[in-house]
Protein backbone atom coordinates (compact mmCIF):
# COMPACT_ATOMS: atom_id res chain seq x y z
CA UNK A 1 0.00 0.00 0.00
CA UNK A 2 2.33 2.63 -1.23
CA UNK A 3 2.60 5.15 -3.83
CA UNK A 4 0.74 3.03 -6.24
CA UNK A 5 -2.56 4.62 -5.43
CA UNK A 6 -3.72 6.72 -8.33
CA UNK A 7 -6.96 8.20 -9.39
CA UNK A 8 -8.37 5.25 -11.22
CA UNK A 9 -7.52 3.17 -8.23
CA UNK A 10 -9.26 5.42 -5.86
CA UNK A 11 -11.97 2.99 -5.25
CA UNK A 12 -9.62 0.55 -3.68
CA UNK A 13 -8.09 3.25 -1.63
CA UNK A 14 -11.45 4.41 -0.56
CA UNK A 15 -12.38 0.96 0.45
CA UNK A 16 -9.37 0.84 2.63
CA UNK A 17 -10.26 4.14 4.08
CA UNK A 18 -13.73 2.94 4.68
CA UNK A 19 -12.55 -0.05 6.57
CA UNK A 20 -10.42 2.11 8.72
CA UNK A 21 -13.06 4.58 9.57
CA UNK A 22 -14.33 2.59 12.43
CA UNK A 23 -10.93 1.78 13.76
CA UNK A 24 -8.84 3.71 16.24
CA UNK A 25 -7.61 7.11 15.63
CA UNK A 26 -4.10 5.94 16.10
CA UNK A 27 -4.39 3.88 13.04
CA UNK A 28 -5.80 6.78 11.25
CA UNK A 29 -2.87 8.66 12.47
CA UNK A 30 -0.74 6.10 10.86
CA UNK A 31 -2.55 6.62 7.64
CA UNK A 32 -2.00 10.27 7.93
CA UNK A 33 1.60 9.90 8.71
CA UNK A 34 1.97 7.56 5.86
CA UNK A 35 0.20 9.86 3.54
CA UNK A 36 2.59 12.52 4.63
CA UNK A 37 5.67 10.67 3.52
CA UNK A 38 4.70 10.10 -0.06
CA UNK A 39 5.57 13.22 -1.92
CA UNK A 40 3.63 13.61 -5.06
CA UNK A 41 1.05 11.13 -4.17
CA UNK A 42 0.17 13.04 -1.07
CA UNK A 43 -0.50 16.09 -3.07
CA UNK A 44 -2.51 14.14 -5.47
CA UNK A 45 -4.55 12.70 -2.69
CA UNK A 46 -4.98 16.11 -1.22
CA UNK A 47 -6.02 17.54 -4.48
CA UNK A 48 -8.49 14.75 -4.85
CA UNK A 49 -9.96 15.51 -1.50
CA UNK A 50 -10.05 19.14 -2.26
CA UNK A 51 -11.85 18.58 -5.47
CA UNK A 52 -14.27 16.33 -3.76
CA UNK A 53 -14.89 18.85 -1.07
CA UNK A 54 -15.51 21.57 -3.57
CA UNK A 55 -17.82 19.38 -5.48
CA UNK A 56 -19.64 18.62 -2.29
CA UNK A 57 -20.08 22.20 -1.41
CA UNK A 58 -21.12 23.09 -4.84
CA UNK A 59 -23.67 20.42 -4.84
CA UNK A 60 -25.23 21.84 -1.65
CA UNK A 61 -25.91 20.29 1.73
CA UNK A 62 -28.60 17.94 0.82
CA UNK A 63 -26.40 16.18 -1.51
CA UNK A 64 -23.76 15.35 1.01
CA UNK A 65 -24.60 11.77 1.00
CA UNK A 66 -24.77 11.64 -2.71
CA UNK A 67 -21.57 13.67 -3.14
CA UNK A 68 -19.72 11.12 -1.21
CA UNK A 69 -20.62 7.99 -2.87
CA UNK A 70 -17.10 6.79 -2.41
CA UNK A 71 -16.77 7.93 1.10
CA UNK A 72 -20.08 6.94 2.43
CA UNK A 73 -22.35 4.17 1.33
CA UNK A 74 -25.58 3.11 2.82
CA UNK A 75 -24.35 0.63 5.30
CA UNK A 76 -20.96 2.10 5.80
CA UNK A 77 -21.96 5.39 7.18
CA UNK A 78 -24.07 4.72 10.14
CA UNK A 79 -21.83 6.89 12.21
CA UNK A 80 -22.16 9.75 9.93
CA UNK A 81 -25.86 9.66 10.03
CA UNK A 82 -25.72 9.30 13.71
CA UNK A 83 -23.52 12.31 13.98
CA UNK A 84 -25.63 14.27 11.58
CA UNK A 85 -28.58 13.37 13.57
CA UNK A 86 -26.88 14.33 16.72
CA UNK A 87 -25.74 17.62 15.44
CA UNK A 88 -29.28 18.72 15.09
CA UNK A 89 -29.95 17.85 18.68
CA UNK A 90 -26.76 19.19 20.07
CA UNK A 91 -28.07 22.03 22.01
CA UNK A 92 -30.18 20.08 24.29
CA UNK A 93 -27.89 17.21 25.06
CA UNK A 94 -24.93 17.56 27.36
CA UNK A 95 -23.67 14.15 28.03
CA UNK A 96 -23.47 12.83 24.60
CA UNK A 97 -22.37 16.05 23.15
CA UNK A 98 -18.67 15.53 23.57
CA UNK A 99 -19.01 12.18 21.98
CA UNK A 100 -21.09 13.55 19.22
CA UNK A 101 -18.67 16.28 18.62
CA UNK A 102 -15.88 13.86 18.68
CA UNK A 103 -17.61 11.78 16.16
CA UNK A 104 -18.38 14.81 14.21
CA UNK A 105 -14.80 15.69 14.40
CA UNK A 106 -14.00 12.31 13.16
CA UNK A 107 -16.41 12.47 10.35
CA UNK A 108 -15.30 15.90 9.49
CA UNK A 109 -11.83 14.69 9.38
CA UNK A 110 -12.91 11.72 7.52
CA UNK A 111 -14.77 13.58 4.93
CA UNK A 112 -12.53 16.46 4.65
CA UNK A 113 -8.96 15.43 4.53
CA UNK A 114 -7.39 18.47 3.08
CA UNK A 115 -5.40 19.13 6.22
CA UNK A 116 -4.49 15.95 7.93
CA UNK A 117 -3.49 16.24 11.55
CA UNK A 118 -3.96 19.90 12.09
CA UNK A 119 -7.34 20.23 13.70
CA UNK A 120 -7.47 17.17 15.82
CA UNK A 121 -9.77 17.84 18.67
CA UNK A 122 -8.38 15.28 21.02
CA UNK A 123 -4.89 16.56 20.56
CA UNK A 124 -5.84 19.74 22.28
CA UNK A 125 -7.05 21.99 19.57
CA UNK A 126 -8.12 25.01 21.45
CA UNK A 127 -9.95 26.73 18.70
CA UNK A 128 -12.26 23.85 18.30
CA UNK A 129 -12.95 23.85 21.97
CA UNK A 130 -13.63 27.52 21.96
CA UNK A 131 -16.05 27.16 19.13
CA UNK A 132 -17.88 24.37 20.90
CA UNK A 133 -18.03 26.25 24.14
CA UNK A 134 -19.45 29.23 22.39
CA UNK A 135 -22.15 27.14 20.93
CA UNK A 136 -23.01 25.69 24.28
CA UNK A 137 -22.59 29.12 25.82
CA UNK A 138 -20.27 28.07 28.59
CA UNK A 139 -17.35 30.03 29.96
CA UNK A 140 -14.03 29.58 28.32
CA UNK A 141 -11.24 30.19 30.74
CA UNK A 142 -7.86 30.85 29.37
CA UNK A 143 -5.28 28.94 31.29
CA UNK A 144 -2.09 29.00 29.36
CA UNK A 145 -0.20 28.02 32.42
CA UNK A 146 -1.86 24.69 32.81
CA UNK A 147 -4.74 23.19 34.64
CA UNK A 148 -6.55 25.31 37.13
CA UNK A 149 -5.31 24.91 40.66
CA UNK A 150 -6.86 26.45 43.65
CA UNK A 151 -3.81 28.44 44.59
CA UNK A 152 -2.84 29.24 41.02
CA UNK A 153 -2.35 32.92 41.41
CA UNK A 154 -0.10 32.55 44.37
CA UNK A 155 1.95 29.99 42.54
CA UNK A 156 2.38 32.23 39.56
CA UNK A 157 3.42 35.14 41.70
CA UNK A 158 5.94 33.03 43.53
CA UNK A 159 7.48 31.77 40.34
CA UNK A 160 7.79 35.22 38.88
CA UNK A 161 9.35 36.51 42.04
CA UNK A 162 11.88 33.72 41.97
CA UNK A 163 12.82 34.44 38.41
CA UNK A 164 13.18 38.10 39.12
CA UNK A 165 15.42 37.45 42.11
CA UNK A 166 17.60 35.23 39.98
CA UNK A 167 17.93 37.83 37.26
CA UNK A 168 18.63 40.49 39.81
CA UNK A 169 21.43 38.55 41.43
CA UNK A 170 22.98 37.87 38.05
CA UNK A 171 22.68 41.52 37.15
CA UNK A 172 24.29 42.58 40.38
CA UNK A 173 27.19 40.22 39.89
CA UNK A 174 27.71 41.57 36.41
CA UNK A 175 27.54 45.13 37.63
CA UNK A 176 30.10 44.47 40.29
CA UNK A 177 32.42 42.86 37.84
CA UNK A 178 32.00 45.78 35.53
CA UNK A 179 32.76 48.24 38.31
CA UNK A 180 35.92 46.44 39.29
CA UNK A 181 37.02 46.51 35.70
CA UNK A 182 36.38 50.20 35.41
CA UNK A 183 38.35 51.06 38.50
CA UNK A 184 40.43 54.13 37.93
CA UNK A 185 38.65 55.18 34.81
CA UNK A 186 37.44 58.73 35.19
CA UNK A 187 35.75 60.95 32.72
CA UNK A 188 37.35 64.36 32.43
CA UNK A 189 35.35 67.45 33.22
CA UNK A 190 34.03 69.65 30.49
CA UNK A 191 35.87 72.70 31.59
CA UNK A 192 39.54 73.26 32.14
CA UNK A 193 40.22 73.44 35.82
CA UNK A 194 43.24 75.17 37.26
CA UNK A 195 45.37 72.07 37.35
CA UNK A 196 44.82 71.38 33.69
CA UNK A 197 45.52 74.99 32.83
CA UNK A 198 48.74 74.83 34.76
CA UNK A 199 49.81 71.70 32.92
CA UNK A 200 48.97 73.20 29.58
CA UNK A 201 51.03 76.26 30.42
CA UNK A 202 53.98 74.10 31.40
CA UNK A 203 53.78 72.25 28.12
CA UNK A 204 53.43 75.48 26.21
CA UNK A 205 56.53 76.85 27.83
CA UNK A 206 58.43 73.80 26.73
CA UNK A 207 57.21 74.10 23.18
CA UNK A 208 58.04 77.77 23.04
CA UNK A 209 61.51 77.06 24.29
CA UNK A 210 62.04 74.46 21.68
CA UNK A 211 60.70 76.54 18.84
CA UNK A 212 62.81 79.47 19.79
CA UNK A 213 65.87 77.32 19.97
CA UNK A 214 65.09 75.84 16.61
CA UNK A 215 64.57 79.27 15.22
CA UNK A 216 67.86 80.45 16.50
CA UNK A 217 69.79 77.43 15.43
CA UNK A 218 68.33 77.35 11.99
CA UNK A 219 68.75 81.01 11.37
CA UNK A 220 72.25 80.98 12.67
CA UNK A 221 73.11 78.08 10.50
CA UNK A 222 74.82 79.91 7.77
CA UNK A 223 78.53 79.66 8.09
CA UNK A 224 77.99 76.96 10.59
CA UNK A 225 80.27 73.95 10.80
CA UNK A 226 80.97 73.27 7.16
CA UNK A 227 83.55 70.77 8.28
CA UNK A 228 80.97 68.35 9.55
CA UNK A 229 80.48 65.88 6.78
CA UNK A 230 77.12 64.62 8.00
CA UNK A 231 75.49 67.95 7.91
CA UNK A 232 77.10 69.15 4.73
CA UNK A 233 74.35 67.93 2.44
CA UNK A 234 71.52 69.15 4.63
CA UNK A 235 73.35 72.36 5.10
CA UNK A 236 73.80 72.86 1.41
CA UNK A 237 70.15 72.14 0.82
CA UNK A 238 69.08 74.64 3.40
CA UNK A 239 71.38 77.24 2.05
CA UNK A 240 69.93 76.77 -1.38
CA UNK A 241 66.41 77.07 -0.07
CA UNK A 242 67.23 80.12 1.90
CA UNK A 243 68.94 81.64 -1.08
CA UNK A 244 65.97 81.07 -3.32
CA UNK A 245 63.56 82.34 -0.75
CA UNK A 246 65.67 85.40 -0.46
CA UNK A 247 65.54 85.85 -4.17
CA UNK A 248 61.80 85.55 -4.25
CA UNK A 249 61.15 87.91 -1.44
CA UNK A 250 63.71 90.63 -1.69
CA UNK A 251 61.58 92.92 0.41
CA UNK A 252 61.66 90.77 3.49
CA UNK A 253 65.24 91.17 4.40
CA UNK A 254 66.53 88.55 6.73
CA UNK A 255 68.99 90.08 9.03
CA UNK A 256 72.37 88.54 8.48
CA UNK A 257 73.10 86.23 11.33
CA UNK A 258 76.77 86.97 10.96
CA UNK A 259 76.18 89.80 13.31
CA UNK A 260 76.29 87.26 16.03
CA UNK A 261 73.95 86.68 18.86
CA UNK A 262 75.48 88.86 21.40
CA UNK A 263 73.72 92.06 20.77
CA UNK A 264 71.69 92.43 17.66
CA UNK A 265 70.86 95.95 16.92
CA UNK A 266 67.30 95.29 15.99
CA UNK A 267 65.12 94.74 18.97
CA UNK A 268 63.18 91.67 17.89
CA UNK A 269 66.38 89.73 17.47
CA UNK A 270 67.34 90.14 21.03
CA UNK A 271 66.58 87.32 23.36
CA UNK A 272 64.73 89.44 25.76
CA UNK A 273 62.38 90.94 23.23
CA UNK A 274 58.84 90.84 24.52
CA UNK A 275 59.91 88.89 27.55
CA UNK A 276 61.08 91.62 29.83
CA UNK A 277 57.72 92.37 31.28
CA UNK A 278 56.38 88.90 31.60
CA UNK A 279 57.19 86.24 34.09
CA UNK A 280 59.32 84.39 31.62
CA UNK A 281 62.22 86.75 31.77
CA UNK A 282 64.85 84.19 32.50
CA UNK A 283 63.07 81.20 31.20
CA UNK A 284 66.17 79.38 30.10
CA UNK A 285 67.50 79.55 33.60
CA UNK A 286 64.42 78.10 35.17
CA UNK A 287 65.32 74.75 36.64
CA UNK A 288 61.96 73.13 36.13
CA UNK A 289 61.45 72.59 32.52
CA UNK A 290 63.71 70.50 30.40
CA UNK A 291 62.95 69.63 26.87
CA UNK A 292 64.06 66.07 26.45
CA UNK A 293 65.64 66.21 23.07
CA UNK A 294 68.95 67.05 21.65
CA UNK A 295 68.47 70.50 22.94
CA UNK A 296 70.62 69.62 25.88
CA UNK A 297 73.45 68.94 23.60
CA UNK A 298 73.19 72.29 21.94
CA UNK A 299 73.51 75.15 24.34
CA UNK A 300 71.65 78.18 23.36
CA UNK A 301 74.65 80.32 22.82
CA UNK A 302 77.22 79.83 20.18
CA UNK A 303 79.95 78.21 22.18
CA UNK A 304 79.56 74.96 20.37
CA UNK A 305 79.78 76.74 17.07
CA UNK A 306 83.04 78.29 17.99
CA UNK A 307 84.38 75.02 19.26
CA UNK A 308 83.44 73.22 16.12
CA UNK A 309 84.94 75.94 14.06
CA UNK A 310 88.16 75.31 15.83
CA UNK A 311 88.13 71.67 14.77
Amino acid sequence: MDTAIHLPEKIEGIKKRKSRRSKDRKERKRVKIFSGTGGKVKIDKKMKKLFRKRAREYNSDDDDDEANPEVGEANTRPLEEFSVGNSSEEEGIDGSDPDAVEEKGDSEDEGDRTQPGITKFTEGCRAFRVAFMKITKTNVSDNSLGPVLSAQKRLIAKKLAEEEAEWKSKGDAKKEKHLVGEKGHVKPANFLDSREKFLISVATKGVVKLFNAVNKAQNAQKGLNPSRFKDAKALGKRQKEAFFSELRKPSQAVDPPAKGDDGPAWAPLRDSYMLTSSKLKDWDKMPETTVGNDMDGIPLDSSSDSSSDDD
Partner: protein
Protein backbone atom coordinates in the same frame (compact mmCIF):
# COMPACT_ATOMS: atom_id res chain seq x y z
CA UNK B 1 62.57 27.23 14.46
CA UNK B 2 59.16 26.22 13.16
CA UNK B 3 57.59 27.18 16.42
CA UNK B 4 59.32 30.49 16.31
CA UNK B 5 57.91 31.15 12.85
CA UNK B 6 54.42 30.18 13.95
CA UNK B 7 54.48 32.73 16.67
CA UNK B 8 56.08 35.30 14.46
CA UNK B 9 53.16 35.15 12.09
CA UNK B 10 51.03 36.74 14.70
CA UNK B 11 53.15 39.86 14.73
CA UNK B 12 53.33 42.69 12.30
CA UNK B 13 55.66 42.04 9.44
CA UNK B 14 58.64 44.34 9.52
CA UNK B 15 58.12 47.19 7.12
CA UNK B 16 61.11 47.58 4.89
CA UNK B 17 60.66 51.28 4.41
CA UNK B 18 61.07 52.19 8.03
CA UNK B 19 64.44 53.50 8.90
CA UNK B 20 66.13 52.05 11.87
CA UNK B 21 68.84 54.63 12.04
CA UNK B 22 68.10 58.27 12.05
CA UNK B 23 69.77 59.83 9.06
CA UNK B 24 70.75 62.99 10.73
CA UNK B 25 71.75 62.18 14.22
CA UNK B 26 73.03 58.73 13.51
CA UNK B 27 71.32 57.31 16.53
CA UNK B 28 69.16 54.28 16.46
CA UNK B 29 65.50 55.17 16.34
CA UNK B 30 63.78 53.66 19.34
CA UNK B 31 60.80 51.48 18.61
CA UNK B 32 58.30 50.16 21.05
CA UNK B 33 55.74 47.50 21.63
CA UNK B 34 52.63 48.20 23.64
CA UNK B 35 50.91 45.10 24.89
CA UNK B 36 49.09 43.68 27.86
CA UNK B 37 49.61 40.80 30.21
CA UNK B 38 46.49 38.98 31.24
CA UNK B 39 42.93 39.69 30.34
CA UNK B 40 42.00 43.33 30.43
CA UNK B 41 38.58 44.87 30.77
CA UNK B 42 37.34 46.82 27.82
CA UNK B 43 38.31 50.28 28.97
CA UNK B 44 41.87 49.18 29.56
CA UNK B 45 41.97 47.72 26.11
CA UNK B 46 40.97 51.13 24.81
CA UNK B 47 43.78 52.61 26.87
CA UNK B 48 46.22 50.18 25.31
CA UNK B 49 45.06 51.24 21.85
CA UNK B 50 45.41 54.90 22.80
CA UNK B 51 48.94 54.30 23.99
CA UNK B 52 49.77 52.60 20.74
CA UNK B 53 48.53 55.58 18.81
CA UNK B 54 50.53 57.82 21.03
CA UNK B 55 53.73 55.95 20.26
CA UNK B 56 53.19 56.13 16.52
CA UNK B 57 54.88 55.99 14.09
CA UNK B 58 57.53 53.83 15.64
CA UNK B 59 55.38 51.17 17.12
CA UNK B 60 53.34 48.21 16.06
CA UNK B 61 49.84 49.52 15.80
CA UNK B 62 48.17 46.23 15.10
CA UNK B 63 50.24 44.03 17.29
CA UNK B 64 48.39 40.81 17.92
CA UNK B 65 48.98 39.06 21.15
CA UNK B 66 47.70 35.68 22.09
CA UNK B 67 47.16 34.21 25.49
CA UNK B 68 50.00 31.78 25.02
CA UNK B 69 52.55 34.46 24.22
CA UNK B 70 54.75 35.22 27.14
CA UNK B 71 57.45 37.79 27.59
CA UNK B 72 60.09 35.62 26.02
CA UNK B 73 58.20 35.52 22.75
CA UNK B 74 58.05 39.26 22.60
CA UNK B 75 61.72 39.44 23.38
CA UNK B 76 62.54 37.04 20.60
CA UNK B 77 60.75 39.15 18.08
CA UNK B 78 61.97 42.43 19.44
CA UNK B 79 65.57 41.64 18.63
CA UNK B 80 65.36 41.30 14.88
CA UNK B 81 62.83 44.09 14.55
CA UNK B 82 64.87 46.59 16.45
CA UNK B 83 62.34 47.20 19.18
CA UNK B 84 63.88 48.89 22.14
CA UNK B 85 61.09 49.50 24.60
CA UNK B 86 58.12 47.63 25.95
CA UNK B 87 55.07 49.22 27.47
CA UNK B 88 53.13 46.59 29.36
CA UNK B 89 49.67 47.05 30.78
CA UNK B 90 48.27 44.78 33.41
CA UNK B 91 45.50 44.84 35.96
CA UNK B 92 45.02 43.59 39.47
CA UNK B 93 42.08 44.08 41.79
CA UNK B 94 43.52 47.25 43.20
CA UNK B 95 44.57 49.10 40.12
CA UNK B 96 45.94 48.86 36.61
CA UNK B 97 49.70 48.90 36.26
CA UNK B 98 51.95 50.15 33.51
CA UNK B 99 55.45 48.84 33.14
CA UNK B 100 57.98 50.57 30.97
CA UNK B 101 60.96 48.45 30.15
CA UNK B 102 63.96 48.67 27.96
CA UNK B 103 64.86 45.56 26.01
CA UNK B 104 66.74 43.32 26.05
CA UNK B 105 67.87 43.50 29.63
CA UNK B 106 67.21 47.05 30.56
CA UNK B 107 65.59 48.39 33.66
CA UNK B 108 61.88 48.15 34.24
CA UNK B 109 59.82 50.92 35.74
CA UNK B 110 56.53 49.92 37.27
CA UNK B 111 53.86 52.56 37.55
CA UNK B 112 50.54 52.26 39.25
CA UNK B 113 47.79 53.99 37.35
CA UNK B 114 45.68 55.87 39.83
CA UNK B 115 43.39 57.44 37.30
CA UNK B 116 43.09 57.40 33.58
CA UNK B 117 40.87 58.87 30.89
CA UNK B 118 40.58 57.58 27.40
CA UNK B 119 41.02 59.62 24.26
CA UNK B 120 37.33 59.37 23.49
CA UNK B 121 36.47 60.71 26.93
CA UNK B 122 38.73 63.66 26.38
CA UNK B 123 37.24 64.32 22.98
CA UNK B 124 33.75 64.20 24.42
CA UNK B 125 34.62 66.72 27.08
CA UNK B 126 35.80 69.27 24.57
CA UNK B 127 33.75 71.64 22.52
CA UNK B 128 35.82 71.28 19.40
CA UNK B 129 37.89 68.15 19.50
CA UNK B 130 40.69 68.08 17.05
CA UNK B 131 42.46 64.99 15.88
CA UNK B 132 43.50 65.04 12.24
CA UNK B 133 45.17 61.82 11.18
CA UNK B 134 48.40 63.48 10.08
CA UNK B 135 49.12 64.20 13.71
CA UNK B 136 50.41 60.70 14.05
CA UNK B 137 52.81 60.76 11.17
CA UNK B 138 55.67 62.01 13.28
CA UNK B 139 56.67 61.20 16.79
CA UNK B 140 55.81 63.49 19.65
CA UNK B 141 58.01 65.82 21.60
CA UNK B 142 58.38 65.15 25.26
CA UNK B 143 58.46 67.58 28.12
CA UNK B 144 59.42 66.48 31.61
CA UNK B 145 58.93 68.89 34.43
CA UNK B 146 59.20 68.82 38.17
CA UNK B 147 61.52 65.86 38.34
CA UNK B 148 64.45 67.80 39.59
CA UNK B 149 67.93 66.40 39.63
CA UNK B 150 67.86 64.66 42.93
CA UNK B 151 66.69 61.15 43.29
CA UNK B 152 68.14 58.26 41.44
CA UNK B 153 64.86 56.75 40.44
CA UNK B 154 63.53 60.01 39.14
CA UNK B 155 66.61 60.47 37.07
CA UNK B 156 66.17 57.02 35.68
CA UNK B 157 62.59 57.84 34.81
CA UNK B 158 63.55 60.96 32.93
CA UNK B 159 66.25 59.18 31.01
CA UNK B 160 63.96 56.34 30.16
CA UNK B 161 61.23 58.56 28.82
CA UNK B 162 63.63 60.72 26.92
CA UNK B 163 64.91 57.66 25.19
CA UNK B 164 61.56 56.24 24.29
CA UNK B 165 60.90 58.90 21.71
CA UNK B 166 63.38 59.59 18.95
CA UNK B 167 65.51 62.59 19.53
CA UNK B 168 65.33 65.56 17.26
CA UNK B 169 68.13 67.67 15.99
CA UNK B 170 67.22 71.27 16.16
CA UNK B 171 69.44 72.16 13.29
CA UNK B 172 67.49 70.18 10.83
CA UNK B 173 64.10 69.53 12.32
CA UNK B 174 61.13 70.83 10.44
CA UNK B 175 58.74 72.64 12.69
CA UNK B 176 55.79 71.34 10.77
CA UNK B 177 56.63 67.86 11.90
CA UNK B 178 56.41 68.74 15.58
CA UNK B 179 52.74 68.33 16.04
CA UNK B 180 52.32 66.46 19.27
CA UNK B 181 53.69 66.77 22.71
CA UNK B 182 53.71 64.45 25.68
CA UNK B 183 53.97 66.03 29.09
CA UNK B 184 55.09 64.32 32.26
CA UNK B 185 54.80 66.47 35.31
CA UNK B 186 56.03 65.27 38.68
CA UNK B 187 54.40 66.49 41.82
CA UNK B 188 56.74 66.27 44.77
CA UNK B 189 54.13 66.26 47.49
CA UNK B 190 51.91 63.58 46.20
CA UNK B 191 54.61 61.76 44.25
CA UNK B 192 52.27 61.45 41.34
CA UNK B 193 53.18 61.91 37.74
CA UNK B 194 50.66 63.54 35.45
CA UNK B 195 50.74 62.21 31.95
CA UNK B 196 49.18 64.34 29.22
CA UNK B 197 49.16 64.29 25.46
CA UNK B 198 48.56 67.48 23.47
CA UNK B 199 48.40 68.54 19.88
CA UNK B 200 50.26 71.65 18.82
CA UNK B 201 48.62 74.27 16.74
CA UNK B 202 50.11 77.53 15.54
CA UNK B 203 48.06 80.59 15.02
CA UNK B 204 49.29 83.86 13.64
CA UNK B 205 49.16 86.67 16.13
CA UNK B 206 47.96 90.09 15.33
CA UNK B 207 45.56 89.01 12.70
CA UNK B 208 41.95 89.60 13.41
CA UNK B 209 39.80 86.59 13.86
CA UNK B 210 37.68 87.13 10.82
CA UNK B 211 40.53 87.43 8.42
CA UNK B 212 42.22 84.42 9.85
CA UNK B 213 39.11 82.31 9.54
CA UNK B 214 38.57 83.57 6.07
CA UNK B 215 42.02 82.57 4.96
CA UNK B 216 41.87 79.22 6.67
CA UNK B 217 38.43 78.16 5.67
CA UNK B 218 38.27 79.57 2.20
CA UNK B 219 34.67 80.49 2.73
CA UNK B 220 33.31 83.69 1.31
CA UNK B 221 32.26 85.93 4.13
CA UNK B 222 28.89 87.47 4.49
CA UNK B 223 29.16 91.09 3.42
CA UNK B 224 25.50 91.87 3.41
CA UNK B 225 25.53 94.34 6.20
CA UNK B 226 28.70 96.09 5.26
CA UNK B 227 29.09 99.13 3.10
CA UNK B 228 32.60 98.49 2.06
CA UNK B 229 35.20 95.78 2.11
CA UNK B 230 37.32 97.88 4.36
CA UNK B 231 34.68 97.50 7.00
CA UNK B 232 35.21 93.80 6.90
CA UNK B 233 38.90 94.05 7.32
CA UNK B 234 39.14 96.73 9.90
CA UNK B 235 36.16 95.90 12.00
CA UNK B 236 37.23 95.67 15.56
CA UNK B 237 36.08 92.28 16.58
CA UNK B 238 36.20 91.37 20.22
CA UNK B 239 39.65 90.24 21.15
CA UNK B 240 39.96 86.70 22.30
CA UNK B 241 40.38 86.38 26.05
CA UNK B 242 43.43 84.28 25.67
CA UNK B 243 45.22 86.93 23.68
CA UNK B 244 46.81 88.28 26.79
CA UNK B 245 48.17 84.93 27.81
CA UNK B 246 49.62 84.39 24.45
CA UNK B 247 52.24 87.01 24.99
CA UNK B 248 54.40 84.43 26.56
CA UNK B 249 53.50 81.78 24.07
CA UNK B 250 54.45 83.54 20.90
CA UNK B 251 57.28 82.34 18.81
CA UNK B 252 59.03 83.53 15.76
CA UNK B 253 58.89 80.86 13.21
CA UNK B 254 61.86 80.04 11.10
CA UNK B 255 59.87 78.60 8.25
CA UNK B 256 56.41 78.69 6.83
CA UNK B 257 53.93 76.33 8.28
CA UNK B 258 50.72 76.00 6.41
CA UNK B 259 49.21 78.99 4.74
CA UNK B 260 48.75 81.30 7.61
CA UNK B 261 51.90 81.04 9.62
CA UNK B 262 54.66 82.73 7.78
CA UNK B 263 58.27 82.80 8.65
CA UNK B 264 59.58 85.58 10.86
CA UNK B 265 56.15 86.61 11.95
CA UNK B 266 54.77 86.01 15.32
CA UNK B 267 52.66 82.99 15.91
CA UNK B 268 50.98 81.76 19.00
CA UNK B 269 51.35 78.23 20.18
CA UNK B 270 48.07 76.66 21.12
CA UNK B 271 47.84 73.25 22.68
CA UNK B 272 44.77 71.09 22.66
CA UNK B 273 44.55 67.88 24.55
CA UNK B 274 44.15 64.66 22.66
CA UNK B 275 44.87 61.21 23.75
CA UNK B 276 44.83 59.51 27.07
CA UNK B 277 45.33 61.20 30.36
CA UNK B 278 46.91 59.29 33.21
CA UNK B 279 47.98 59.78 36.78
CA UNK B 280 50.89 57.51 37.55
CA UNK B 281 52.84 56.65 40.62
CA UNK B 282 56.24 55.08 40.40
CA UNK B 283 56.16 51.92 42.44
CA UNK B 284 59.13 49.85 41.57
CA UNK B 285 62.29 49.92 39.54
CA UNK B 286 63.90 46.67 38.65
CA UNK B 287 67.24 46.01 37.09
CA UNK B 288 66.23 43.43 34.59
CA UNK B 289 63.30 43.12 32.25
CA UNK B 290 60.62 42.50 34.86
CA UNK B 291 63.18 40.55 36.81
CA UNK B 292 66.41 41.25 38.52
CA UNK B 293 67.30 43.20 41.58
CA UNK B 294 64.99 45.90 42.78
CA UNK B 295 66.62 49.27 42.62
CA UNK B 296 63.80 51.21 44.13
CA UNK B 297 60.59 50.25 45.78
CA UNK B 298 57.99 52.71 46.85
CA UNK B 299 56.86 50.67 49.77
CA UNK B 300 60.32 50.12 51.14
CA UNK B 301 60.17 46.36 51.15
CA UNK B 302 63.50 46.08 49.51
CA UNK B 303 65.14 47.90 52.33
CA UNK B 304 66.12 44.50 53.60
CA UNK B 305 67.35 43.50 50.20
CA UNK B 306 69.66 46.45 49.92
CA UNK B 307 71.03 45.77 53.35
CA UNK B 308 71.74 42.23 52.35
CA UNK B 309 73.51 43.43 49.27
CA UNK B 310 75.59 45.80 51.31
CA UNK B 311 76.47 43.08 53.77
CA UNK B 312 77.47 40.77 50.95
CA UNK B 313 79.70 43.43 49.52
CA UNK B 314 81.25 44.08 52.89
CA UNK B 315 81.89 40.42 53.35
CA UNK B 316 83.56 40.27 49.99
CA UNK B 317 85.77 43.07 51.07
Amino acid sequence: MARFHNKKKAFVKPVVKKQSVDHVTGDKIPKSFVFSRGKLPSSLRHLEMDLRKLMLPYTALKLKEKKRNNLKDFLNVAGPMGVTHFLILSKTETAPYLRVARTPQGPTLTFKIHEYSLAVDVAQSQLRPRCPPELFKSSPLIVLSGFGTGDQHLKLTTIMFQNIFPSIDINTVKLSSCQRIVLLNYNKETKLIDFRHYSIRLQPVGVSRRIRKFVQNHQTPDLRNLQDVSDFITKAGYGSESEADDEAATVNLSSDIGRVNKASTKSAVKLQEIGPRMTLQLIKVEEGLCTGGVIFNEYGNEGGLIKQKDQAMEEED
